[in-house]
Symmetry: D2
Subunit: 349 residues, 4 copies
């Protein structure tokens, strides 16, 4: 099978490294280009990256020469797909330019997420939103985004419950430091502490969730019609965002119905979509789970599944906790799964 | 002025040590008796306590000989007041026995909090609930409780808002490890982690809050009539419980009215009540506060004030974060303030 | 090939869980018996264990019924080998009894480590010490120990340097909390802190190291003749002991010779010894390594290799830092490798 | 008494804030000028500082307008003394320029520490080294430095033992993150981790210690003649450097003599020197102390005393652990004490 030629924008950050790590030996995709900031340009990837991943830097990119993020060297002639882990401001124009070049852009940044013709795609949840790229004016190129990391957990907690007529949602987060990048949170600020603020995060959760869970009528996306109230905080955890969620329904729902909805939520075919988890939602019945250090990476969960636990029903409400791996399901893994889905659906030329 | 003779039950735990530390040089109270478990009984306090407080063990209790928690040596002849930091099960009978002896029992345990004739007293909030002790059948003795540590923060966030007709409350906590006592949380379980479960905590917050914020009609307490939905988790923080709160109102309230209500909330006279904070609610306007390591003990807050921040209004809701010192305002300090209030009101003989 | 029947003593603790996890699918060994304390006896393993490992509880032991540690049900008729992760005091008699039964005992406890006829075996370092079991008086049974966790790192740092005539060694440790077991270190004691004391640890490092690095003359072990000065402390790290080491030589040694000795240190054949690392010593040349969170489990190091870094020469001294996985190379993994070695050498019947 | 006019260079960093905090109400010194980087210049101190101290920003500097670090506005006409918390490179020229202006410069940076005519002063240890400023060529101005933070602990551990003929010293550190400044250590790098490298730290400890403990013959300082071998690492602790120390002597010394030397080490008169601790060395006999979270700030130690514990004698060696408050005794407090000493000795005009 033909391998698609891949570029990774912002390849030295935490999310960039996740992209490199996951794409080191992908059946359909092959890394050919890596970009980073100007000061790294022209040097070998293995020389300039401060590598945080458990597995080694893939052999085939160790010697890859870094291109400046803003260089125009990246073109349709040498690339089919770009994964973007750029800072948001920088990403805005670059992603448009690449799409205009005819490149398929899968972006982890929030630059274009709320654009009216750009989907925030999560194949298990809103696969048909991918059709929205048909409305984009880039020719063969297009932009597909994945959601913000904390949003990526929340939507898996809500999607199985939408059939019960959700009225409103309250979510409070315990977010890990890796969500802010390598140097994002100073240790003086978070050691033994909680910081009840993450810039822009609450707005993202509220807006993105309604778009992802909305309906696509062939022309545009109609947002989900329930309200979301988000409060976000940073905690001294390396990886994994935990979320405390309350869902109020307009109708009476039993605990059994809710648990059943979580348990029966279907995943994709992992043969067709190598990055997809067998089981996107893992329901735990233990008293005190999920926990970041114990449930994030297990034999059953390689980082692309959401773990849900402590499901409690109170009147017409349900409370639960949810755990998502913020740099896999919440970032690089989500973006790659989107590309796999676009490939299967015939969107990649 | 006469000094009342004090006993501290469970004097070697974290809360017990806080009692000892705070009462080392109190104008009205003088420690004369300390109890602990059987294996410590008969030994000097300074020899058996694993002292966690910043200030030294008060000189006058270093040589005090520990009495077994369950001994009957503690009697009205040698004691006026008992502060109880016992485990709940152990506390149930002991506190009744001491009240029957004629002793004023100020308890930090939850054994009798929900008893129909026992107040959960917080003088700045529900001072008149103290009258409820008149319904108790212990003669001159009585039992007054303070609230659970996380409840003690929440009620300060709600009391100033009750005038706006609260419909329902959502609270999610980030609770420190000291709330579980010296050996309560193993480091293997919490380092770099969050545990989304604290046994009994959510129920306590929901029930106690409604009782504390209820009205006393001279006969009994009528619970506050709004619903409370609590989700509790442990975080790797030494001291201080942070709480994310959403209050829904039945009426429209402006952000200015809410902030004004917090700011104008009155404290007690600190001359009369030495343990009371000048200002029980500190409102912070900074982006990313309150934080446990930075706002718990400051020049303005010696651990008895609540810090509220990030007040955000959304429709008829208000969101905010709140920080309470769990072993001072949430435990020993609260209990001592209750005794000071009972003294001033003439309840101590 | 015949599979040897295995019992694991103390199977519910952290080291016990490591044994279970590693032996779930071993080519030569098969778990048939698990022991734990009295209160767990008679119940299924999966019901009573608080599982901390990343991989799942192996299917074949989920239903295994726990035997009381002190029961005599474990006999030569149903077991060939026992791995012991018991507390030291409890282990002393039990291990002797099992050896007398004719069972091969591989013990992670320190009960018999310093016995004159019991080797502290590390196959890459002192393989011939295994012959010492011939001096034991247990018939076909015998006891082989592995070293204390921090010792297991130190000896790999010293063995390659012994040819240079070591005069004395200084070692200071940064030891992780998992070394003290599941409930060994309370979070109140270690969060944001360092505890400069681990009971018995310094003595173990000093004595065990000299025995392991000593020579076996066919009759007894002659301790290595250099002095070791150890200082041990606990740090808030989940897994991995870091050690700062200074070695003083009686002769002049170049930095190149030292680095070469580390690099050329040979491992065992990993086909014959499935638990052995390809490369027991990984030398890193990076400025600021090894680090517990980054170098303990990598593509090149599955927990059985030692990482050495920051090698600095000063006069006739060399300074370096060293990292060892305390529950793999320092405990369960070491013990299993010893059994694999004994099997290959014909000691298992 | 006349108050000396003070400038603080680099007033917004952690050490700068310590200076401001300590000098807010000093009997002899009064802050009149604060400098910071260019982007803060021209703005009020309280508006630009991200305040980490427990006590409030002193009222008298809240409105102080920040001067650019490199501005020439600071002159002898408006200032008597400057405390420098600048980055080292920036400090080099600025400190010389200010001394030439006639200003007394007390510097916490290492820019001039090893200059032949600049003392590294610690009044309890090497008071007579202050005379060395007479060799400087700045007219009435001069430069006095205090030591690096980890050195400031080590010298208190060695000074009382110098009478016993020290042969060599081994020191391994556990250093807190505040030593690297507000943004110095990223949380991704240190949470649950140890970093065995601090740039330049080992060299500083080795060189500074020998200078501080050396003898001044009226002309120059003769370094102490024993060797120091330092290994430095960063641990996830907010404040306080712990050090593991081994001292080898050329003669036989008893444990009693060593303990006695620590206990009898004299402090300065705290009436004359308000920043000096009553007792510069606190010897603890407890098993597992000193510990950063428990011994750094206590009733007996306001941050200027060194705590020594676990003193163990082995042959002609002694091992012990030592704890120093890195931003008080190791930085701002040390510098202020030096100014108090210089004042008393008549060096301030």
């Amino acid at each position: 099978m033909k391998k698609y030629r891949i570029g990774i924008l912002g390849a030295t950050g935490i999310v960039g490294q996740r992209f490199v790590s996951l794409l080191g030996s992908h059946p359909h995709f092959e890394i050919v280009s890596l970009t980073a900031s100007k000061k790294s340009a022209g040097r070998k990837y293995s020389e300039i990256v401060d590598w945080y991943m458990r597995n080694d830097i893939p052999e085939n990119v160790r010697e890859t020469i870094i291109v400046n993020n803003t260089d125009k060297e990246i073109s349709r002639e040498n690339l089919d797909i770009v994964f973007s882990a750029l800072p948001s401001k920088l990403a805005y124009d670059i992603e448009i330019d690449l799409a205009k070049e005819g490149i398929a852009v899968f972006s982890n940044t929030n630059a274009h997420r709320m654009d009216i013709d750009v989907p925030i795609l999560i194949p298990e949840i809103n696969a048909n939103h991918l059709q929205l790229v048909g409305k984009q004016k880039f020719g063969t190129g297009f932009i597909v985004t994945n959601s913000n990391c904390s949003t990526s957990g929340l939507v898996f907690g809500l999607r199985p419950l939408q059939k019960f007529n959700i009225r409103e949602v309250y979510v409070t987060t315990y977010q890990s430091i890796s969500g802010a990048g390598k140097k994002g949170v100073a240790s003086m600020d978070i050691l033994g502490n909680v910081i009840p603020f993450i810039s822009g995060e609450e707005e993202k959760m509220e807006l993105e969730t309604k778009k992802i869970l909305g309906t696509f009528d062939g022309e545009q996306i109609q947002d989900a019609d329930f309200d979301i109230n988000a409060s976000c905080a940073r905690v001294p955890v390396l990886e994994g965002h935990l979320e405390s969620i309350v869902v109020n329904f307009n109708e009476d729902v039993s605990l059994e119905e809710i648990n059943q909805s979580f348990k029966s939520f279907n995943g994709l075919d992992t043969n067709t979509f190598p990055t997809a988890p067998m089981n996107p939602i893992i329901l735990t019945l233990e008293d005190d789970r999920p926990q970041p250090t114990r449930d994030l990476l297990t034999e059953k969960n390689l980082g692309m599944a959401i773990t849900i636990g402590r499901v409690r029903r109170k009147g017409t409400s349900v409370n639960f906790f949810l755990l998502v791996h913020n740099t896999l399901r919440g970032a690089a893994g989500a973006s790659i799964l989107n590309a796999e889905y676009a490939l299967q659906e015939g969107f990649l030329k």
